[in-house]
Amino acid sequence: MKCTFVPSVCSYCGTGCGLLFETIDGRINSTIPMKTHPVSQGKLCIKGWNLHEHINSPMRLKQPMVKTFGRFINASWEEAIQITADRFKEIIVEHGPDSVGVLVSAKMSNEENYLAQKLARAVFGTNNVDHCARL
């Protein structure tokens, strides 16, 4: 049996509480507050304590999907990525780079936000980048 305690940071509000994911055989069993964390000092709120539940939810998406004739069809990553890249390229050629917008996410990591705006600016060629800071 493999059991681990993996340090993480709560992904709900902006406080940034420290926690541990208790995993048993590759599945998260519970969320435990990190006792010595500088921000949260071993305490969590109701959302933090249950952080693993949304991760374990059976409602999670499990593969990419492409809408065909109004219905979602499961796709491979290669297909989904290629279809998306082709559509974006077409639209950029036809309407210019500023016809595309990217909404990055306050839920993604710094690294991922960096890549998302790099994608918009360097690849799409637009500064139409925003996220839900206002909402």
Binding site: L51, K62, K67, S105, L119
Partner: protein
């Protein structure tokens, strides 16, 4: 936050305005209560009677949207009584004279009239904040989600500078950010006008730097904000949208307006953990891995960049966001091949002065607070110690503007929106958590028992709420947390989506933030559904 979360405990006076901290930033409310228990004074200004109000030395319920009037009124009293910090104003700020002249008009009588707050309470608030050295001001969306959002924030800064509270431990102007990495998303250039670290896209030098690093040409035209993108879609200017980890169908103002816009799009891609309301109408859905299935960093509200580790393998055929983005970029003809997030972090740290001294090795489990410009820098616990980023702190003369909508004959009630403690934002994550779902299964609207009595409504009865934009049915929760004439609707529940009622036209002209906190509505008891025979 200019200061740090633990620094709140060092404060002698805490002024909370527009933040229901115990519900929305519970572990920050811990620090507030600890400061209070050590003897700090607590002032709470919120249109609702929130949990923190019970412990406040002064708790007021000012009229929705009257924040600048309230703050100006407080500053008027502070100046009248000579409680301002003259040496600080002289040495560290500018624009004081013009500002002071503008505040002169905000007499206690005028303020009481505009805010509905008792003159004596105003005086006590001003006295407590004005005479306690090291006073900390905390605010959240109650300050910013207004047509006067920027003015409100500037007024908070005016107040803090007036009393010399910026740049000292235990002081500061401290916005509490609502999403775990909203600070990071801003820092990383997730905004239309700046690259990472707030380096403007319109600045030739910055463009050159990024252009060289990324080996491409870059547009010098600042892009559109989310609030501008929706009308741009309807005008036919924006054709495709790539939405990552957001659910604008519930979070954006004016549901009807947005729905029409999304239909107009030629191409919509949504990347999410769940088939959110927005993902349902997408052309392509990318299934992303969750927080526990990847590593990376988040930057919290006190600018602390913290590492999170991978706990389990990605679920089924999902991919971490950084892999999806890299693959898409590569497919678009711009190869991105990163071995791991650490490589991406090193690239962004090299381009972002405030993150310049950070690396995975240095972050550890405690993280580092930016600015952290070089590898020897210990990080910054509180900002603006010697001087402000722009040199001198600037006072802004702000005059009170009422909200865009006020109750009238047709729409006689105020409606305000927000979060409740057991759920988060659009509920995509929390409503799929069994323990959070038990705590609050369905949407509700808070209504004062007086209003409920007038409408002959009991707890749990269905109410129909109508605004100029739309209408919805939602069960009533009777509580004196809201004043008579005011309703509160949580934003988490798709079946009673607050943005059916809120406006897409009322937003701050500068920040483009929608006025979620104030709408005019009417309410009546829903007609029971026709009985089935």
């Amino acid at each position: 936050m200019t200061n740090s979360i633990h620094g709140i405990e060092k404060s002698n006076c805490i002024f909370v305005i527009g933040s229901n901290t115990t519900a929305n930033h519970p572990l920050i409310s811990r620090r507030i209560m600890r400061a209070k228990e050590k003897g700090a004074r607590l002032i709470v200004a919120d249109p609702r009677g929130i949990q923190l109000s019970r412990f406040a030395d002064v708790a007021i319920r000012h009229r929705l949207g009257s924040d600048t009037a309230l703050l100006n009124g407080m500053m008027h009293i502070i100046i009248e009584n000579g409680w301002q910090s003259s040496a600080y104003i002289r040495e560290r700020t500018e624009g004081y004279e013009e500002f002071a002249a503008s505040v002169k008009m905000a007499t206690p009588e005028f303020t009481a009239d505009a805010t509905g707050v008792d003159v004596e309470d105003l005086y006590q608030m001003a006295r407590l904040y004005g005479t306690s050295k090291a006073a900390s001001l905390l605010y959240a969306m109650g300050i910013t989600q207004h047509t006067t959002g920027v003015d409100n924030v500037k007024s908070c800064c005016n107040l803090a500078m007036l009393c010399g509270n910026v740049g000292i431990p235990g002081g500061g102007v401290n916005p509490l950010r609502g999403q775990n990495n909203v600070q990071g998303a801003c820092d990383m250039g997730g905004l239309p006008n700046v690259f990472t670290g707030y380096q403007p896209v319109a600045d030739e030098k910055m463009r050159e730097k990024f252009s060289k690093a990324w080996n491409c040409t870059l547009s010098n035209i600042p892009g559109q904000t989310i609030t501008d993108m929706i009308p741009a879609i309807l005008d036919g200017k924006l054709k495709a949208l790539y939405v990552i980890g957001e659910n604008p169908k519930l979070s954006d103002p004016d549901w009807n307006h947005l729905n029409r816009a999304l239909k107009e799009l030629k191409f919509l891609v949504v990347q999410d953990l769940f088939l959110s309301e927005t993902a349902q109408v997408a052309d392509v859905v990318f299934a992303a891995s969750s927080l526990a299935e990847k590593e990376g960093t988040f930057t919290n509200t006190e600018r602390r960049c913290m590492k999170f580790e991978q706990a389990v393998e990605p679920l089924a055929n999902t991919l971490p966001d950084w892999k999806i983005l890299s693959q898409l970029s590569t497919a678009m003809g711009y190869p991105m091949h990163y071995a791991n997030p650490s490589e991406i972090f090193d690239e962004l740290a090299a381009l972002t002065p405030s993150y310049g001294g950070m690396s995975y090795a240095r972050l550890g489990l405690d993280g580092l607070q930016w600015p952290c410009p070089d590898a020897a820098h210990p990080g910054t616990v509180y900002m603006h110690k010697e001087s402000f980023s722009r040199g001198k702190g600037k006072f802004h003369a702000i005059s009170y503007q009422p909200p865009a909508e006020k109750p009238d004959e047709t729409y006689p009630y105020f409606l305000t929106t927000g979060r409740m403690f057991a759920h988060f934002h659009t509920g995509t994550m929390t409503r799929t958590s069994p323990h959070l779902d038990i705590e609050q299964r369905d949407g509700y609207v808070e209504i004062n028992p007086e209003d409920a009595a007038a409408l002959q409504v009991k707890e749990g009865d269905m109410l129909t709420i109508i605004s100029r934009r739309g209408e919805l049915d939602v069960p009533a929760r009777l509580t004196s947390v809201v004043n008579p004439g005011t309703l509160f609707l949580p934003i988490h529940f798709g079946e009673s989506a607050a943005n059916i009622l809120t406006s897409s036209e009322a937003f701050d002209p500068l920040a483009k933030i929608p006025e979620y906190k104030v709408s005019a509505v009417n309410v009546y008891k829903s007609k029971p559904p026709p009985e089935r025979v």
